[in-house]
């Protein structure tokens, strides 16, 4: 089972997204701040991170940079209202159309990541 870290300061979305991902057979863990996400990332092994770009304090870009410093090339999906240029994210998804796109992109990212590892 693939482990996914979902980071969003909108707690309701964070939990609901995790529920949908769990329903699809993933093991999703919620984090409502970058600090909580980094702590979770240290303690547990993840296969992919989904993060919101705009968050109070440290945002998605900082989180992506911190994760890629620890694990270069780690798959990260960034979400936001407007397209952002984030060199550390694998791809960007507009929040207006998060589902079902997120599920399709997660599948593609994980597959790419596995292929690269082989």
């Amino acid at each position: 089972m693939k482990n996914i870290l979902v980071v969003d300061d909108n707690e309701m979305l964070c939990r609901m997204a995790c529920d949908i991902l769990n329903h699809e057979g993933y093991c999703a863990v919620p984090a409502t701040s970058v600090e909580a996400a980094l702590e979770a990332f240290e303690q547990q092994s993840f296969d992919l991170v989904v993060t919101s770009f705009h968050m109070p304090g440290m945002g998605g870009a900082e989180l992506a940079r911190a994760i890629r410093n620890r694990a270069p090339g780690f798959p990260i999906i960034m979400t936001g209202f407007e397209p952002v240029d984030c060199e550390h994210a694998t791809l960007f998804l507009p929040r207006q159309f998060l589902f079902p796109s997120l599920l399709e992109k997660i599948g593609a990212c994980l597959l790419e990541s596995e292929t690269r590892a082989q």
């Binding site: 909108n10 309701m12 979305l13 609901m16 929040r95 207006q96 079902p100």
Partner: protein
């Protein structure tokens, strides 16, 4: 009245027992509770519930035969009638988790060598020590609790199993033991074994279509139709499965084709489940939703049909209702405490609107 007193009056003990009849079918409280929960979750499959509940009662009182599984059940019937769902509902009722059972999809074991995925490769064969066997003792015991030493094991679509899997299955059903590739033994005497099959699906499909067209037949699902489906499925099972397999079964249940009103009940249950899921996921930040009758009709049209029953209903609800609500949460359009009404537009697309409490009503409440 003592035995001596009875014989004095010329009444035998056997006759006296008749005056105080016992009810062999009465269930204990835990079994009644299980039955209640299953009936609240499963629509129109009373025979399946009765079979499961009876075996559970036998298990609880310790009367299950030794050295055999607790029960071997074969579920036959049309696609989307709820064969797998009964096992999920049972897992949820017993363990609080609808996924708390082991599922062996027999379609994945159609080739002889694929049996290694189930029991591991023997020493000297490719994959020995690398392929993790699915049916280990550890895997079987993973959902058991201190109070409930019971495992639910599902073999899905058994008609697709290879001969190697059939041999394995016959051994399991008869002796409740399995020898893995590494020569270790697995005890399946605490397992309730379910097998599902769509055998006779083609004949059932013909019955469903009746050559008269789709919509016309939909309204003709009745008792007679169920009996014909039942006969068709049982005949197909007897043709395909060997007598030694059929003899090892404790129960064979043919699932009923769901009538339109029953599909409506399934939809209501699914929508309730979604609301419950959202509440559990978001906790105190809960919001509620309601679907207009036209939406329910639309979901039924998209997610059900006589051929596939309610098979696609969950997926249709997930894609249209759950994803839609999640996107509204993602864009901040739904907040905690909101009530969302789901309707359908002229273009056939679902519409979401927030129920706003009128100012005068708010003032009255204050």
């Amino acid at each position: 009245m003592s035995g001596e007193a009875l014989s004095e009056k010329g009444v035998s003990l056997a006759e006296a027992a008749v005056s105080a009849p016992l009810d062999a079918k009465r269930h204990g409280e835990p079994t009644k509770e299980l039955e209640r929960v299953l009936r609240s979750k499963v629509v129109a499959q009373d025979a399946a519930i009765d079979a499961v509940v009876e075996l559970y009662q036998i298990f609880l009182v310790g009367m299950a035969p030794p050295d055999r599984p607790i029960g071997n059940l074969l579920f036959l019937g049309p696609t989307g009638s709820g064969k797998t769902y009964v096992v999920e509902a049972l897992a949820e009722a017993l363990f609080g988790n609808p996924h708390a059972f082991i599922k062996v999809n027999c379609a994945e074991f159609q080739e002889h060598h694929e049996i290694a995925k189930l029991i591991g490769s023997p020493p000297g064969y490719v994959g020995h020590g690398q392929t993790r066997a699915l049916l280990t003792q550890e895997a079987l015991n993973q959902w058991q609790t201190e109070k409930l030493k019971l495992t639910l094991l599902l073999f899905d679509e058994i008609e697709k199993a290879s001969d190697a899997l059939w041999q394995l299955l016959l051994g399991i059903l008869d002796r409740a033991t399995l020898t893995l590739g590494d020569n270790s033994h697995v005890d399946l005497s605490h397992c309730m074994i379910f097998m599902t099959s769509n055998l006779g699906a083609a004949e059932m499909s013909k019955l469903a279509e009746g050559g008269l067209g789709f919509a016309a037949q939909f309204t003709r699902v009745n008792e007679d139709f169920d009996q014909r489906i039942s006969r068709t499925a049982l005949e197909a099972a007897r043709r395909k499965f060997s007598p030694e397999f059929m003899n090892r079964l404790d129960k064979v249940v043919v699932f009923r084709t769901l009538r339109p009103d029953q599909l409506g009940q399934v939809l209501e249950l699914e929508l309730e489940r979604i609301q419950h899921r959202i509440s559990r996921a978001v906790g105190e930040q809960n919001f509620t939703f309601e679907c207009a009758p036209s939406v329910k009709q639309w979901l039924l049209q998209q997610g059900t049909d006589p051929k596939y029953g309610a098979r696609h209903l969950k997926r249709v609800i997930e894609r249209n209702v759950v994803y839609g609500l999640a996107n509204l949460v993602a864009t901040g359009q739904i907040q905690s405490g909101d009530r969302v009404s789901i309707g359908i537009g002229a273009d056939g697309v679902l519409t979401f609107s927030k129920c706003v409490v009128a100012a005068s009503e708010t003032a009255t409440q204050q």
